[in-house]
Every structure is written in structure tokens, then in C-alpha cells.
Amino acid sequence: MRLLVKGGHVVDPRNRLDKVADILVEDGRILAVDAGIAAECATVLDVSGKVVVPGLIDMHVHLREPGREDEETIETGTRAAARGGFVAVACMPNTDPPLDTGAAVRFVLSRARETASTKVLPVGAITKGLAGVELAEIGELCQAGAVAVSDDGHSVGDSAVMRHAMDYASMFGIPVISHAEDTRLSAGGVMNEGLWSTRLGLPGIPAASEEIMVARDICLAELTGARLHIAHVSAAGSVDLVRRAKEKGISVTCEAAPHHFALTDEAVAGYDTNTKVSPPLRTGRDVEAVREGLADGTIDAIASDHAPHTAEEKEVEYELAAFGIIGLETSLALSITELVRPGILTMGQLVERMSYAPARILRLDWPGIAPGAVANITVLDPDHEFVVDPDEFASKSRNTPYAGRHLWGRVLATIVGGKIVYQTAGGWLDSQSLS
């Protein structure tokens, strides 16, 4: 079974590729990367004029299975991922039951084998029941296939528990992903504390509630030597703390979600509950800091924090609405629109933030577009302009604040292990090539 990805502009900084080249794939692996490959192939993707990059990885999504299959399943969530250009997603453990046992992790992997379009990388729980009290069996979680541990959605409030988790997880070499939130400071809050929470009369969450925990976890990473990853950094102070920790040589990485560089808390005006997210949308100053952090590499990765919710959970009073924004199908376009087009990131740096960095943090074998590598490839058109229409989403949920927004950048094809798991409808493919 051979596949030729023909005539695309290949952008892969690790393999020093920034030129037009053909990619020949055989039996799921890349056989050759070169100009003008002439080979007999079952399938030819003529992608002339388009951009070809190593497959994107979203290291922070919620697939909701098991337990909330009304919101999303592994099948629909990974279909959304493929549509968004992702070849792999790391799914968070706050399911029902949570992924705090080897059995639960094996369940997710087995459902993924049966139903998923992309790779699924389960993240195990730090503590039993995500309760923040007793450590989960992290050794068994790793053995079952967990790539990291996190109590995401909940903050590990007890510093001693977090310290032990870091010490313990470092035996297995996996990162501890921190949802950084001082829940006493944020208690009752539903949006960023500032001018807009005052204007809207909504209870605020101060940036300090995130910064305090980022600072604490950096101190614990220094104490334990463990690998700390801060999830969804939203506040300027957090970016600054991570920057200084990296300068000191502490083992810390972090990610930012597109809504934290594409929207400010002003978006809450009008009480659209699709703007309700944890951590909350922050001020223009914070957005600026997140963009700077992405530009200078302080923020290693872009991750969507795809958090599907039903209409019933969102079409209620703002204070009662569930926290969360879906992001798999808008993440790349928001990154291109808000970061690449304004010149904050080059396309090569975007590949770093959305493919290589997540792979490095999760310790995946990720050689990119190189002979011998597993063929995980994303084809995109960064100049394609479109209007976000949630009804086109593959996700089961529709909780996006971007409906009607003009964005640039469309995924044309997603190739996982040599298999085309997603391609846009509409005739750009060489017609005789699809056999």
C-alpha cells in the first residue's frame, strides 16, 4: 500500500525542511522525502500550493468517555481531532469513573483501538478519585499506557500530596501536569476578576489564584527534580514565573490554550456562557503576555483544552453554566490567525508548539517527516479564509465562543500511520487517485 503526498511545501524545522517536496509512504511509514518522486502509488494526494507539516498533537483534551458520552465519545472526539489536523490527543482523566486505575486506562485504549480516528494518549490521575488526598497507583497507570498524570479540572490543594506525587512520578519519568488554581481564592468565581467582572456583576477569579499555584509547583519541581508541566497558562504572572524558573534550570514546561491568546474577558459581556472556562479569559495584558511567551518559547506548547458540554449545561444562568470551551476544530485556525499571520510565530515555530513540543513533553518517539518515521502528517492551507460554523463540527458538542468568527487556515488532510483519517470534501484531491 503506497501513498504519495505530492508537491506540497513541507515545513519541518527539526528535519530542516522548508521547501517543496514529495513524501512517499509505504506500509504506514515514510519511505522517502524528495523532490519529484516518481513512483507507482495506489493513492496520490496532489497538495501543490499547500503546506505539509508533521502531524499535530493536542496534549490536553477531554474526550468524556467513559461517563459523559452525551457530551463526547472517543469516537467523536478523535474525529474532531482529525478534522482539526491532529494525529494524536492526550485525554484528561476527569471521566466517570476517573482514569485513576490501570483498568480505566486500558478501557480508554481499548475503546480507542475500536473507534478512534487518531492516536489516543491517556493521562492518568495523580490522586484516587481526583480527590487530592491519596496517590493513585501511578506505577500501574504507566504500565497500562498513561503518558502523564494530572488531576486536571481539580487542583491538588495539599502541597505535601503534590510533593509526593512529583517524587513518585519521577520514578517513572512521566511529567506531572498541574491544573494550577488556589481554589480558596477562586471559590465561587466564574470569570476573571477585573473591570469586566465588576461591570457584569459576576464573581471574579483573580489571576493570583493561578499564579500562587504555579509558583508553588515550581518550588516543588525544584525540590523534587520532577518534570512539571503547567496546563493552560492564562495569566501574565504565570508566564513570568515559568520564564524565570526555566532561566534557573528548573524542569518545567507549560502550554497555552487558543482562547487565552485569542479572547479577553471582554468577551463575557452579553453573558454568553460559551465564554465560561477555567482558567477564565483574562485581560488584554495577559493575552499579550501569553503571545510573548509563545514567541520566546517560555510557553512550549499550544493545547486546546477541548472541553465539550451539552446545550443543557450551557444554556443556563452564567453562574450555573459548566466551565469549558471546545477547541479541537478551531485550535489550528486560531493559531494561524492570531499568531502566524501577525508574525508572532513562523510556521516552523507553530509546528514546534503544536507537534514537537507536546511529543517531547510526553516523551513520544517523534522523528517528524523523515525516512523511516511513522507517517503522521497534516496537510493544511494557511491562506484559506472561512467563518466558523459550529454545525460543521465533528464534535458532539457545540460550546464554542467563535461561532461566526472569521479565521484563516484549514486542514485539508490528516494522515495517521499512513492512513488518511480525514480529508476535506470539495475536489482538491486528484480525482483518479482515490481508489
Partner: protein
């Protein structure tokens, strides 16, 4: 000029001219208090529903009288005895009221933005009677009306709002209304009860009461919710009264004709003494009376009426 929106969700969303139109319309409405028969045909055949998720005496009764005196059919829904107690969502309740033919829905809710959700769901006119810490527009309108009636103008006046600004929808609506009409607004209270961003809204912020009231033309005293003390936002009511209570002694250091307002219900002896509340400087009871006139004006304008003179006809 009629009102631009079908709803009254907050003074933030009104133009200065719309606020003035409501105040002008309330003047003839107030004449009804001097009549033997308090009944106008204006809203005959219209249905008004009071949907109150929080306890309220004066606001609910004020809306009810305003509606009844204008011949609307008025229904009250107490949420503890309705389907809400069976878990019906706000949106579904709104649809039900729509199906029952409500023309006006007056909503009081403990959560900010709830009237917006209802307004998006129904064709009826939605009037915000207080939503969380967001706005209480008819209260601010009646405060503006009372100030204008007593002092003859609003433009250029110095107005100081004292108390729990953070949790106060009355403060928020007053800030919008007063600044739009050209008053200079100062807010004063303990730092723990002052929300961020007020200076960006054109408001002077201080925690020094004596400075805040020395030159004031109007002092609007807010009710202090005693449960804020339990949450640790101030140490004791004793200290609150010491620092922010409006007493006879404090009043004597103010301008002699300073106007004192309180939205009620007051904790007499805590944020304001009874002596001050019942003094000639205070307008606490006029505020209640003016509230009915303001709500009549709002109902009239939202139902499509437009000329201030028409209503009392």
C-alpha cells in the same frame, strides 16, 4: 423618541436621552398618588408577571402596584411554590411564561445576567428588578428621579455612594445613570468591598468616609449584608458602623442641604441611624413613592407609549 430596546436590562445599555425620557414620563405618573381613584386604562389587556427568585417586598409590590394602577393583569410567581422548585430551568420557565401570553416579565434573580437569558428567550418585554451584583435599573432611576425632584438637577452634582459597592447592583446602576447624566460619582467603603475597575468607569474611589462626604450634594447609603461579615470581608458590624455608619455627627460636617438616600431595607443603627434616615435631609420614603411612578413610566414606555404628557390623560 421611544426606548430602543424591548427590555430594560440595565442603565448601562441606555442612552442619556432614554434615561431622561423615563424620568420625564415618571413625573405625570406620580400625580396618580394624589387621585382618589388610582386607575388608568393604559395597560388594559396586558399581562405582567413578577418572577422573583429572591425575597423582595418593596420592589415586587412597587411593580405590582404600577401594573395594577395601569390596568394590567398582574401575576406573581414565588419560586418556592412553582415548577422552579421541581427543577425547571430558567429558560424553560421563560418559555412557559411566553406561552401563557405574558407581555411583561419582571425578574429578580440572585445571579447576574439572568434577565438577559430570559430576554433572549422570549418576545415579552423583560424588566430587570435586580440581578445578582449586576444592575437594578429601576432603583437607580427612582434615585435619579428623587435627586432631580429635590435638588432640581443632576448634571454637575457630587454624589457619594457609601457601603458594599462590590455586591451592590444598586451601586452599579447608579454609577451608570449618574455618570451618563453628568454627575460626579464617588464610591466609599472598606477596601474589601470595593471591586476592581471602577476608576476606569469614571468613578472616584476612596475608603475615607469623611473626605468622601464633606463636599457631597447627595449621599446614597447602601444596605450592608450582614453575611459579608461572616465571610471575613469586614471584622465586625461595630467597626463597620464606626468607620462607615452615617450618623447625625457625620451629617453635621456635610453641606447643610445634603440629600441622603437609602434603597432599603435599612439596617438602622448600622449603616445609617434612624435619626438620619428620618431627618429632613433624607428621602427614604419619597424614594418608595417615586419607585411606583418610575415603574409605571417604564411599563408605559416599553409598551410603546412615547409622549410624557399622554399617560395621565
Amino acid at each position: 423618541m421611544p426606548l430602543r430596546s424591548k427590555d430594560l436590562l440595565g442603565l448601562e445599555y441606555l442612552e442619556r436621552e432614554e434615561i431622561e425620557l423615563i424620568l420625564d414620563t415618571a413625573e405625570p405618573c406620580k400625580q396618580i398618588f394624589t387621585r382618589d381613584i388610582k386607575k388608568l386604562p393604559t395597560l388594559r389587556g396586558k399581562t405582567m408577571v413578577n418572577l422573583f427568585y429572591e425575597p423582595s417586598t418593596r420592589t415586587r409590590m412597587s411593580f405590582e402596584l404600577a401594573g395594577k394602577w395601569m390596568s394590567a393583569d398582574v401575576t406573581n410567581i414565588a419560586t418556592s411554590t412553582s415548577s422552579v422548585a421541581k427543577g425547571e430551568s430558567l429558560k424553560d420557565t421563560a418559555r412557559t411564561l411566553q406561552a401563557l401570553g405574558a407581555n411583561f416579565i419582571v425578574i429578580r434573580h440572585q445571579m447576574a445576567g439572568s434577565p438577559h437569558l430570559v430576554a433572549r428567550t422570549v418576545k415579552a418585554s423583560v424588566i430587570n428588578a435586580g440581578d445578582g451584583a449586576h444592575e437594578h435599573p429601576t432603583q437607580a432611576l427612582l434615585d435619579l428621579f428623587t435627586i432631580r425632584e429635590r435638588l432640581g438637577r443632576i448634571e454637575g452634582l457630587k454624589v457619594t455612594i457609601v457601603g458594599d459597592i462590590m455586591h451592590s447592583r444598586v451601586a452599579k446602576s447608579n454609577i451608570w445613570g449618574l455618570t451618563k447624566l453628568g454627575a460626579h460619582v464617588t464610591v466609599c467603603g472598606p477596601r474589601t468591598l470595593i471591586p476592581p475597575g471602577l476608576s476606569e468607569m469614571g468613578v472616584h474611589v476612596t475608603s475615607e468616609l469623611d473626605d468622601a462626604i464633606a463636599e457631597a450634594d447627595v449621599i446614597n447609603v447602601l444596605r450592608i449584608q450582614l453575611e459579608r461579615q461572616k465571610k471575613g470581608l469586614f471584622p465586625s458590624t461595630r467597626e463597620y458602623t464606626e468607620l462607615y455608619g452615617i450618623t447625625r455627627e457625620r451629617l453635621e460636617s456635610c453641606k447643610p442641604d445634603v440629600l441622603v438616600l437609602h434603597p432599603g431595607p435599612a439596617n438602622l443603627g448600622i449603616e445609617i441611624t434612624e435619626e438620619v434616615a428620618e431627618s429632613a435631609n433624607a428621602a427614604v420614603h419619597e424614594q418608595v413613592t417615586n419607585g411606583v411612578a418610575i415603574r409605571m413610566a417604564v411599563l408605559y414606555l416599553l409598551s410603546g407609549g412615547g409622549k410624557p404628557g399622554e399617560i395621565a390623560g
